[in-house]
Symmetry: C2
Subunit: 111 residues, 2 copies
């Protein structure tokens, strides 16, 4: 049991789920918010902004990077992260595609 059934869904569904998963923690939202607002490479200082240990922040950054939401270059003892707007564009589009009814039909009441 608990044997991964995720691959039985479409690639689109998996991609969108992975994007959502990357955003599914307030720490990662907070990191993304900082990167989005400054819209430039942030070198260091991210750790100082969060109520978490350095190793934990590094782990969250790694997850965001693996999911493609941010990109970063590590340059020795100084790392540099910035938001990957392309990914946000893609998933924003995907989101709207899947839930295109959002603005059209939302007045229709159901249960």
């Amino acid at each position: 049991m608990a044997t991964h059934k995720k691959e039985e869904f479409t690639q689109r569904e998996q991609d969108l789920a992975n994007f959502a998963k990357a955003m599914a923690h307030p720490a990662r939202i907070a990191i993304l918010k900082v990167l989005a607002q400054r819209n430039e490479c942030i070198c260091g200082e991210i750790v100082d902004l969060l109520p978490l240990a350095q190793s934990t922040v590094s782990q969250h950054l790694k997850e965001l990077k693996n999911a493609g939401l941010i990109s970063g270059s590590i340059d020795g003892p100084r790392s540099c992260y910035c938001i990957n707007w392309k990914a946000f564009e893609k998933f924003n589009g995907e989101f709207n595609f899947l839930f295109a009814n959002l603005k059209v039909k939302n007045e229709k009441a159901c249960c």
Copy 2:
């Protein structure tokens, strides 16, 4: 260790993370997709559309309901779910608020 630090973030960050978490599984994306496309109460048949056991689907539905993404009424042996467009509107707005730069600055290249 592993002691919940989530409550140390802002309520907005937590709310958005919870919304994302609810979408962070392809099965739940698939469920939402069905409900969004039909845009009406779906009574039954959801289980038939997914490659998962009935109890597992029921659990996913419960999570979506707890997160407020769908609403449903259970009427004896027949349940009835539909998408909660209000929640999607809210979080779509929240998403755009946090990442408002999306359309403006995405040509600016960083790392």
